[in-house]
């Protein structure tokens, strides 16, 4: 990076908020994805931490003028390679813009700066009886801006939807430096194109999000949790379909396969039968009076479809104990192999049994371990590949297996990504789902907003 540019950036953000040392920049060559940057090629020229929208605007104007790529970044916790530095670029970290500006109980909305931690917003609104449901696994440290840019989901998606369903307005800085506001503070809003929805999930390719207006809902009064154990994974999958077909909508419907069950039991001793084919962890929420009725109906469905064991939590502690199995899932399998790759191919809910079988076949074909844990209620399967990054021969097989999972997912009418995003990890597959023309349309939108292709180049559209 030219020293003159560094100088100009320093003037904008101040000397304390700019990083140019090798050791600092090296730490922006990764995010939570398995995408590997090439340090010789991909090391950023500079990382800046702006403190407000105006600084972001000035940085983008400068970058656009000088045609310098900009990689926006929040907590760097995305799993699709969307925040990895690319060559002599500016890494634009938005974590300093971290204020909750407003929690408006009369209009049921919250206004936040982009760097607010999602979990922090959640606990603030819950303390006044309100609820912001999207719950990505990273919620304790990921940022609202990042969640909006990736359109993050989470277990509660089955009932409450994903980030997109809550964003009603944005303040964004365009790649050319102009600041615009989209949407607003109203639930109903059809003025012009729905830019809010276009920018939500745009993965930092169209704009830098600086402020977010989200709608809130009343906090459900209570929750009820149960666990059902099945000897065959097919039974569990069918149960999921039946529960949904029966008009019941749990707020979480999580599926764990045998590989997870065995390892969780070994690691956390939660009392799961290690020969079980699958476990469903089911949670319903709402008014206290209806919880028991809902759980009762779900219990019947589980029994009818062959559940060999059912545990219904009677207290909060018991519910926590049931969730302990799910929460320890990751730590449990990380003992098996050193490298864990989590995929998030998503299929129509009714195709879950087929999808699970296909993934198992692919694992057998390439002789690798793929465990399955899924937000089964919304078809979002997390195929977890347990491998060893230092074993290059196995890594090659893993890569082929992942490619094949993507192909299979699209064949089943599913999506390459349910909630992780395309990023740099899946860009080469995108046309399988969008078609050539579909991608071309997206490309034109990108060109219209970002004529110099400075914002997160390579993400979604490939290098």
């Amino acid at each position: 990076m030219k020293s003159e540019i560094i100088q100009r950036l320093t003037e904008i953000v101040g000397g304390d908020n700019i990083y140019t040392a090798l050791e600092d920049l090296y730490c922006y060559t990764y995010d939570a994805s398995f995408v590997k940057a090439d340090i010789k090629k991909d090391l950023a020229g500079v990382a800046v931490y702006p403190g407000n929208t105006e600084e972001v605007s000035r940085i983008l104007k400068l970058a656009n003028l000088e045609k310098i790529p900009v990689v926006p970044r929040g907590a760097g916790s995305n799993v699709s390679g969307g925040t990895i530095s690319i060559g002599d670029c500016i890494v634009l970290v938005l974590k300093r813009m971290n204020k909750i500006l407003e929690i408006d109980r009369k209009n049921l909305i919250a206004v936040v700066e982009t760097g607010v931690i999602t979990g922090q917003l959640q606990s603030e609104v819950e303390s006044v009886g309100l609820f912001y449901p999207p719950d990505p696994a990273s919620q304790a440290f990921s940022t609202m801006g990042g969640n909006v840019a990736e359109c993050a989901g989470g277990p509660r998606g089955v009932k409450y939807g994903v980030t997109r369903d809550y964003v009603i307005g944005l303040e964004v800085v365009l790649p050319t430096g102009e600041v615009i506001n989209t949407g607003g503070r109203t639930i109903k809003n059809v003025t012009g194109y729905d830019m809010t929805n276009l920018f939500t999930g745009s993965e930092g390719t169209l704009c830098v999000i600086t402020k977010i207006i989200v709608k809130l809902i009343p906090l459900p009064e209570g929750k009820s949790t149960m666990m059902a154990v099945f000897s065959e994974i097919d039974q569990a999958c069918e149960t999921v379909s039946e529960i949904i077909a029966g008009g019941l909508v749990p707020c979480s419907l999580e599926l764990l396969d045998n590989i997870y069950i065995k390892n969780i039991e070994e690691y956390a001793k939660v009392g799961l039968p290690t020969d079980a084919g699958a476990v469903l962890l089911i949670e319903v929420d709402g008014d206290s009076e209806i919880l028991a009725k809902q759980i009762g109906k779900i219990e019947q469905t589980c029994r009818r479809l062959g559940a060999v064991q059912i545990r219904i939590a009677k207290t909060k502690e018991e519910a926590n104990e049931l969730w302990r199995a799910r929460r320890s899932a990751f730590a449990a399998v990380s003992r098996v192999k050193p490298t864990i790759i989590g995929e998030d191919a998503t299929v129509p809910r009714s195709s879950i049994p087929v999808a699970v079988r296909r993934i198992q076949e692919i694992a057998a074909k390439y002789n690798i371990i793929i465990a399955i844990l899924g937000h089964a209620g919304d078809g979002n399967l997390h195929a977890t590949i347990l491998t060893d990054a230092t074993d290059l021969e196995e890594a090659a097989r893993v890569e082929k297996a992942i490619d094949e999972i993507f192909v299979a997912t699209v064949e089943m009418g599913g999506s390459l990504s349910g909630e992780h995003g395309i990023g740099r990890a899946k860009s080469k597959f995108i046309t399988r789902q969008t078609g050539e023309v579909g991608l071309e349309v997206q490309h034109r939108i990108k060109q219209a907003l970002d004529p110099n292709n400075i914002l997160n180049p390579g993400v979604m559209f490939g290098a």
């Binding site: 990083y19 040392a21 090798l22 050791e23 600092d24 090296y26 730490c27 922006y28 060559t29 990764y30 995010d31 939570a32 340090i39 990382a47 931490y49 907590a75 760097g76 916790s77 970290v93 974590k95 300093r96 931690i117 990273s138 304790a140 440290f141 990921s142 990751f330 730590a331 990380s334 003992r335 050193p338 490298t339 864990i340 060893d388 990054a389 230092t390």
Partner: protein, 425 residues
């Protein structure tokens, strides 16, 4: 064969870079740069191992910016031992680049040699009045002139007489139900002798005979975590030799850091040593924190007087996450009538001391400490109880900087006060 730096790659690749450490790392909370969070440190270490990076000055700086508080370790979904990795990196730096002259002097001449340490400390206790003045409320002291220390820095004075020199080697009690050896650690021996006295008085009160081996040394942790394994091993062996000879039921500590060294880290440090590895393991089993020992003593809460005071408790990193002692001090505090115990928010977040970290990065360590002081203030407590002398000094400094009139004491002192209250009533 001593473990090579490269062999840590197996641990490094277990980091999936999820970023969960961002939620708990006290240094990252202040600095926000990716290179200052556990995930960044692990990536930098992997870079050096795979030779993408060199052992630069910049790398050393990043490695020095870790408090070794273990918050990331217990919060990591993959259980990556970040503290061990940083320590391995510091060891590699020390071996490849050498220690700084000052560190070499302190580690190799002073801490390792008890008589040099003793003589220096004795001289220090006499002359410290020339350069320090008394702090407010008679607590601590402030530098009169710039010493490379911040002039606002409240330090605790060296005791006029070291703790160990004030006691016989064996403190006998009639009809002892238990015989324990007390590993005092440096801060209790040279600065906070009041904590040491309280440990003795409480144990005596409970019919425990205490042995204080006079030849014990610094535990070696400050040396080890700065990468000087050679000195650390010598110090570990010297302590093992001293305590091996004692015929005791337990070894009691009143500092989590020393405790963890004796309980687990000596065995790791000396794992390749045919003789000492086994001895270290056997001694490790005997190690108990003061509070663990006390709550196991039947009737420790009998004959406790009324102590009307508002108290809160700070969990020292190496006590709560190292020795896994969390409930025992609270049990002691709650057993005292009159004490109103209010938990502070995030009682187990690091106070920012990090031992030598607070000397090298004073400004940063005070910023971290400010959060702790605020959390203490919120409780309305008059007394902060804790189980570590380094935390005690750092928090007392923070309270002083912010003019918060809260007294800081060790758990042993609170219990001693409760026993005294009974005797006086």
């Amino acid at each position: 064969m001593e473990r090579s730096f490269e062999s840590w790659e197996k641990e490094v690749i277990r980091c999936i870079r999820c970023g969960a450490c961002q939620n708990v790392c006290p240094v990252f909370k202040e600095l926000q740069a990716e290179s200052t969070v556990a995930r960044g440190r692990v990536k930098l270490i992997s870079g050096v191992i795979t030779k993408e990076l060199d052992l630069t000055e910049g790398f050393s700086d990043k490695m020095s910016l870790c408090l070794m508080c273990k918050a990331c370790v217990v919060n990591c979904p993959s259980g990556v031992k970040v503290d061990k990795l940083v320590e391995a990196a510091r060891k590699e730096i020390a071996e490849q680049k050498g220690l700084s002259l000052l560190k070499k002097l302190i580690f190799r001449l002073v801490l390792k040699n008890r008589w040099v340490f003793n003589t220096g400390m004795k001289a220090g206790s006499v002359f410290q009045g020339l350069v320090f003045r008394k702090g407010p409320q008679g607590q601590g002291m402030l530098p009169r002139m710039s010493l490379g220390l911040d002039k606002r820095r409240l330090l605790s004075p060296l005791a006029p007489k070291s703790f160990r020199s004030g006691y016989p080697q064996v403190i006998k009690v009639s009809g002892a139900k238990l015989r324990v050896a007390f590993f005092t650690g440096c801060m209790i021996n040279y600065i906070y002798t009041d904590t040491g006295n309280a440990v003795i008085n409480v144990l005596k009160h409970n019919g425990v005979e205490v042995v204080i081996p006079s030849l014990q040394n610094c535990c070696g942790t400050p040396v080890r975590i700065n990468g000087d394994y050679e000195s650390a091993k010598e110090m570990a062996k010297a302590n093992i030799d001293v305590f091996w000879k004692e015929e005791v039921d337990l070894i009691v500590v009143a500092c989590g850091t020393c405790g963890l060294a004796l309980k687990e880290e000596y065995a790791e440090l000396l794992e390749d040593d045919p003789i000492y590895a086994e001895k270290a393991k056997k001694l490790g089993v005997l190690v108990k924190d003061f509070t663990e020992l006390v709550v196991s003593l039947e009737g420790f809460a009998d004959r406790i007087g009324h102590l009307p005071m508002k108290v809160t408790y700070h969990d020292p990193c190496h006590l709560v996450r190292g020795l896994k002692v969390k409930e025992q001090p609270r049990q002691i505090i709650k057993s005292i009538s009159g004490v109103i115990f209010n938990e502070m928010q995030k009682s187990d977040t690091c106070c920012g001391s990090g031992g030598s970290f607070s000397l090298a990065h004073y400004e940063l360590s005070t910023q971290i400490n400010d959060h702790k002081v605020n959390d203490i203030k919120q409780t309305g407590a008059e007394v902060l109880v804790t189980g570590c002398s380094a935390c005690r000094m750092h928090i007392a400094d923070g309270l002083h900087r912010q003019n918060v009139p809260v007294k800081v004491i060790h758990t042993a002192q609170l219990l001693e006060m409760a026993y005294t209250a009974k005797n006086n009533s």
